[in-house]
């Protein structure tokens, strides 16, 4: 276990004892990655911001009834996802937002492709474009697995689906990336090697 996980639990216990600096520290530590994840669940800035605010307000209000947790990060992610769904259902914003969700923001691709770069960076760029185009659910699983570093069972619990469907979704996403990468292979010698690997 890495040190920050231990200190997470310390912060959590301090929070239960009404320690406000601990509360602020939890916010500082997690709001960025929570936002990043929330945005993958629903690309609606206002709604994600509201959900994060509500999540932390609840956390403080309910601090005395919080249970001990093994992983604070897991708890926060699962709570955030629930909040987003509650809010979006309440405001019925989800359909429109998901419809526009394909407008995945993805800043660096073209500007970086234009600049002359090393092969590894080019590969990253191409893959990033492909990743950005994955269906929302696949992107969510890929983000949780490869960026937020959750295990399959944790992802299942966060998203409220079975472990099997987490694995299937991940498999689908990776297969898709591999196939697309293969298609691009003639452009980038390296990709071919990835496919053969």
């Amino acid at each position: 276990m890495r040190p920050e996980c231990n200190s997470d639990v310390l912060l959590w216990n301090a929070l239960k004892q009404d320690d406000q600096p601990a509360f602020a520290e939890l916010y500082q530590r997690y709001h960025r990655i929570l936002y990043s994840y929330g945005y993958k669940v629903i690309p609606n800035v206002a709604l994600v911001e509201d959900a994060i605010q509500d999540l932390f307000v609840d956390l403080w209000r309910l601090r005395h009834s919080l249970s001990l947790v093994d992983s604070v990060k897991f708890y926060l992610f699962r709570s955030l996802r629930r909040k987003i769904y509650q809010l979006s259902e309440r405001e019925k914003r989800i359909d429109t937002a998901i419809a526009s969700s394909t407008a995945t923001e993805f800043a660096r691709s073209s500007e970086q492709v234009m600049a002359d770069q090393e092969q590894e960076d080019q590969l990253t760029q191409r893959l990033a474009q492909l990743v950005a185009q994955l269906p929302q659910r696949q992107l969510e699983v890929v983000t949780l697995r490869f960026y937020q570093n959750f295990k399959t069972d944790e992802i299942a619990a966060i998203m409220g689906i079975t472990e099997k469907s987490v694995r299937n979704t991940l498999h689908k996403a990776l297969t898709h990336l591999r196939e697309q990468a293969a298609y691009l292979a003639p452009l980038l010698g390296l990709l071919l090697l990835w496919v053969l690997a």
Binding site: D18, Q20, A24, Y27, H31, R32, Y35, S36, Y39, K40, P43, E49, I52, Q53, F56, V57, W60, R61, S100, T102, A103, T104, E105, F106, A107, R108, S109, S110, E111, M114, Q119, E120, L123, T124, Q125, L127, A128, L130, V131, A132, L139, V142, T143, R145, F146, Y147, N149, L174, L177, R178, L190, L191, L193, W194, A197
Partner: protein, 373 residues
Amino acid sequence: MHNYHNDTAEELAQDDFFRRWVQQPDSETNAFWEDFLTHYPEKQSVVVAAKALLKAVEQVQVLPTEAQGNQMWAMIQQQLQEDATELAYEPQVHRIGYWRQWAAAAAVLLLLGLGWWFTIRPATTDKAMGYIQPKPQAEIEWIDNVNETNHVLSVKLSDGSQIVLQPRSRVTYPKTFAVDKREIRLEGEGFFKVARNPKQPFMVYTNGLITQVVGTSFTIKAFPKMAQITVAVHTGKVAVFTTNALAKSQQSQKQIAGMLLLTPNQQAIFDKGSERLTARLVDEPTLIKKPETKQYFVFENTAIPDVFHKLEESYGIAIQYDPTVFDKCSLTAPLGNEPLFRKLDIICQTIGATYEVWGTKVIISGPGCQQKP
């Protein structure tokens, strides 16, 4: 430890120890993976591919800006402050010390009129303020809110407007607003989200400059030690003018001279020394209109006037160019959510033009295109 030499790129990417190396490399992971590559040089491409996959996923993440993070925190604080006030009569209230201290530190100081304000300020700065300031009336209670903490402070006004006040900044406002206007004084930096009310204009007074709005959001930076005051507009329309100009117009019953009307992504810059007030684009214009589709900025053989028109609409800016020079130019570029100026760099590079920002306008110049590139 696991034998990695048979792993595929995808398996490597799923491995915690491998991910740690890519995401947060330290001496242990560096030593191990460098050693791995010297032993299995044929695995280089697999490692590169696995790394690229992880970095690609990282790249598509959207992180909040620092300002967004601060604003969310301010909103959390505000909601919890409201809790604390509601709980004020319950016995356990002493446990909520933090927010009560905040409320106390944010010193709700009741003042009788603003006269006091000027006595503590250097006399040179506010020559003309005498007439224009919210008139000191004995019956008006003024609230003076100073942010002495080192985090942002959220202030809610009686009309529902909100101010996110940066550290070392202060706002002063009446407990109840006058019927015909809402007057606020700011020193330092504040983000304002103003509740719409056309009958009661919202006016922010800062050291020689007045910002007047009906309902909108904007940021003012007016630190006493800085030579300039800036007012940057996020949404809605904002009028900015100097206190001198207002004083003159009150004396002569004429319109206020040199008033700037700002729209989103524009900012007013007031130089305190020369009292010059100019309008410019903000440093990082944001989208004022959400792109309709993901492909919104993907251009394929698109005529340049259409490209510029789209940018003008999306960012609420004016782009000036000679259509006869550029009529043969077209653009093919898969643009996305790059900042505006980055988009302009790419476009200009493609059509062999250059751009300059003049005030609130973007001016494009160049020789034009011979044939469609």
